[in-house]
Symmetry: C2
Subunit: 336 residues, 2 copies
């Protein structure tokens, strides 16, 4: 193994939007494989909003140290193995980071799991990745939509929101998605068949929620926080469930972040607001993978993937999550 | 029946703190009792923070109309009955309002219930009233403290908080109460035996929570909102439950109310924040009355009552909830 291992390392903690300059491209030799370890070749890198937190500070996971390889989940092929649990050729997902090759002993902050045979590598990061699994557990376990419920989903054209919205639809709910721009809104109604879409860039979100969900929101799946969370809290049905999955509007400027001023509506509507981490549900991943895979095979669930080309594009691809340029799951294609 | 019926009617919607001038004292003849009705003599009036909302706007219940008798729960004696369900001499609780006498057909916005024989009238408003029942259902159903859990309660020397804190203690939790002033804090530790008390007027609440509950709050029972809610959200244990019972710090100035800027901690700690109304649990009131009564009889639950003397004092007694002058349940003694 004499190839080089390209790595994006964290150079500085971001102020505001993550910039390409916050990272540095480094070349290292591909590491030697010692007993009990295996080497993977990254094929696709997953872009996830939670990476913004990892760049800045300790949260549920420690911050990435300055000078360390940027943490990322990826889909990878095992190329050399001296580990009894992994064989050459296995397709695995794990937090292998922004690099061409990674050495692993099978442990780590995030579970490493083998993809079911026949699964395309990108699907391991979208449907079966952090975002798809978050959508599954958040919507079903916390949102728990019933047939006929009014369900509102923000960032509904994003990787988590689009899966969450479709799961609610599978459960028989009336689903309204919020997204930025006409292209995404059209995709929500025409491609994934939501009841309606709200363009937060050009429409009055509060007014449109009243029109589209006149009985209020039984479930609100929140990926964004900020004004849209407040708009949804203003229109809760009795016993509503607010699923706190993310707050992407606040990640680049926590100082300016406001809380929902009308959270007292949770009292007046006897409603629940609950946060979660997908890692809470690690033991139930097989159940989720089975359901999500079946729904996709049956054509009930569209898994939209937005591919950026080339290892060098990783920092720019990550930025797209915050500018809202991506449609569906943003990934980076590194190798075949 | 030739006596007069004194009534406090709502004269104006309050701006900020409710004032005596927002009400007007009126005298009316005591109403005649028609078939299917009964007449009660109010003995004690209950003062509840939720009355501030009723004065201003429609919430879970319609606002009190200008010129109408101020809505209040009270403990009353049936003095005349032409209703098959009530007999002269019965001691009942219901929303009979700020007046000496009230005519009822047994229906109404709030359930009317007869007190168990031997119950003192004030107990019907404290332990078995809105506040005691809110403490019971909020703490047990939403907070669900386990033995050894760290439980934080705000307005812990108030009518709801003091019962909620003691219920958590009965369940074996380590309970820390927050209250304003040395007298209340001393009462919390010496009289009702909480593990510790934090005086929010003179102490750094955030720092004291870290000291007193180093593993974080498994349960936070919130009666106040504002800065204290934010302090508690900053110190949640994993899978914490935040019980939203009230937000008294915001009731007099909703415009200035802020939301908890760090609500994203609900995600990072996989925590739940849930609001409720005691009326959600109407069917389970007998169970609550049995438990609360037994705990009080066994000496495990101290039911602290703060009595204002005389019908005329009702507006001032209500204000005491917002100035924090009351220790325990604020009621008004109207007649024996």
């Amino acid at each position: 193994m004499t190839q080089t291992n390209r790595q994006w390392v964290l150079k500085s903690r971001p102020e505001g939007m993550p910039r390409r300059d916050d990272f540095e491209l480094r070349e290292q030799p591909v590491p030697a494989v010692t007993d009990g370890h295996f080497l993977v070749r990254n094929l696709y890198l997953s872009c996830d909003p939670t990476q913004r937190g990892w760049m800045e500070r300790d949260t549920y996971a420690p911050a990435v140290a300055i000078g360390d390889v940027m943490r990322a989940v990826s889909a990878a092929r095992v190329v050399v193995s001296k580990h009894p649990g992994y064989r050459e050729g296995d397709l695995v997902c794990g937090a292998f980071g922004w690099q061409d090759y990674a050495l692993s002993d099978g442990s780590g902050l995030f579970p490493i799991f083998k993809l079911p045979s026949g699964t395309a590598a990108p699907t391991g990061l979208s449907l079966f990745g952090i975002t798809g699994l978050s959508a599954y557990f958040g919507m079903l376990d916390i949102g728990a939509p019933q047939a006929g419920d009014g369900v509102l989903v923000s960032a509904a054209a994003g990787s988590t929101g689009s899966i969450a919205a479709q799961i609610a639809k599978i459960r028989g709910a009336r689903v309204v998605g919020i997204a930025g721009g006409a292209r995404k809104c059209q995709w929500l109604t025409e491609e994934i068949g939501l009841a309606a879409a709200i363009d937060y860039r050009s429409e009055n979100v509060r007014g449109r929620i009243v029109e589209l969900l006149p009985k209020g929101c039984d479930v609100y799946f929140d990926n964004v926080g900020g004004d849209i969370l407040e708009a949804a809290l203003g229109r809760l049905a009795r016993h509503a469930r607010v699923v706190l999955c993310g707050a992407i509007s606040t990640y680049n400027d926590r100082e300016a972040a406001t809380g929902p001023r009308n959270y007292v509506n949770l009292i007046l509507r006897s409603a629940t607001m609950r946060g979660f981490l997908v890692f809470d549900y690690a033991a139930r991943i097989p159940e989720a993978v089975a359901d999500l895979g079946r729904w996709a095979a049956e054509g009930k669930l569209k898994d939209q993937i937005d591919v950026a080309e080339g290892f060098e594009s990783a920092p720019d691809a990550l930025r797209r999550l915050f500018t809202g340029e991506n449609l569906g799951k943003q990934i980076v294609h590194v190798a075949d």
